[in-house]
Symmetry: C2
Amino acid sequence: MSRWEPDALGRLEQAAFALYAERGFDQTTAAEIAKRAGLTERTFFRHYADKREVLFGGSSVLQDHLVQAVADEPDSAAPIDAISAALQSTGRIFDERREGSRQRQAVIAANPELQERELIKMSTIAAALTDALRRRGVHDTTASLAAEAGITVFRMAFERWLVDTGPPDLARHLRDSFAQLKAVTAEGTG
Amino acid sequence: MSRWEPDALGRLEQAAFALYAERGFDQTTAAEIAKRAGLTERTFFRHYADKREVLFGGSSVLQDHLVQAVADEPDSAAPIDAISAALQSTGRIFDERREGSRQRQAVIAANPELQERELIKMSTIAAALTDALRRRGVHDTTASLAAEAGITVFRMAFERWLVDTGPPDLARHLRDSFAQLKAVTAEGTG
């Protein structure tokens, strides 16, 4: 048998999300995911360390993409604009797979431990974006505030994008949410 | 023997922080904390479910205080100002115990699992503040953005307050950080 399995990663992910939704995350095994995907358990473990990583493996890909996108922004871009542009650049990738994102979110929402993991992953991305801004010469506090605010905006925009029944457009939700954050903070008299 | 132990809570906390610093969190037991505090193990467990709760028991007190403070703000206060005022109202309490906060932070910084717990606690507080704003009639997204941005500002201000060698003034660091967040978001052309 050939070891070449076209789109094994995508098939494993689809099978996993479907099984998590049907049986619950805790009741699903790696062997069952592999079987549903028509692949061997060995193939599963070539791609993922465990069944949780099917949900979170994408986080490091997202993080690398965002860090590179921040680095690629023109020097003249304000920190918050560099963050905003980087986040918006993920829009098309997410838009192509909103249904998968919805399944993933439903699994996470049903499991407090997965919610914690998601929170930690987002915090790790915020730290990576802070570092990416620092490497652009942005001062520590400004870098932290811009990156953390960006991740807050991303989470809000993402939630609204998930429930949006129109054509998927994450970048638009991001722009709207950044504008709202600007309005919210501008109200401060403090 | 009298069951009345003056300031048992404070003594347990002091003993715990000192032992965590000396031996590490993982190497310290509840029995040792009680002994160091000159109290019984039974007294320890009357106050805390486990040794981790010595570090995080204050989070729910802080959360209740903040939620009440947001509710007490005048109706005319903008959401971000209600959050800012609530956070600043904790300043005096923290200022009285900066050294304890520094010890606590050092223990948490040395232990990834405790860092995750802290992150989750802060996220829980952000959610509680979002609800507190909603009860004031603030729209969902604005409430989330103001509360989450407030917690981001709190974390930044708190870090700077911890390392500040001058007289402790958390409220001032909070005002500075809110002003910086406003400046950072105002730069956005997005």
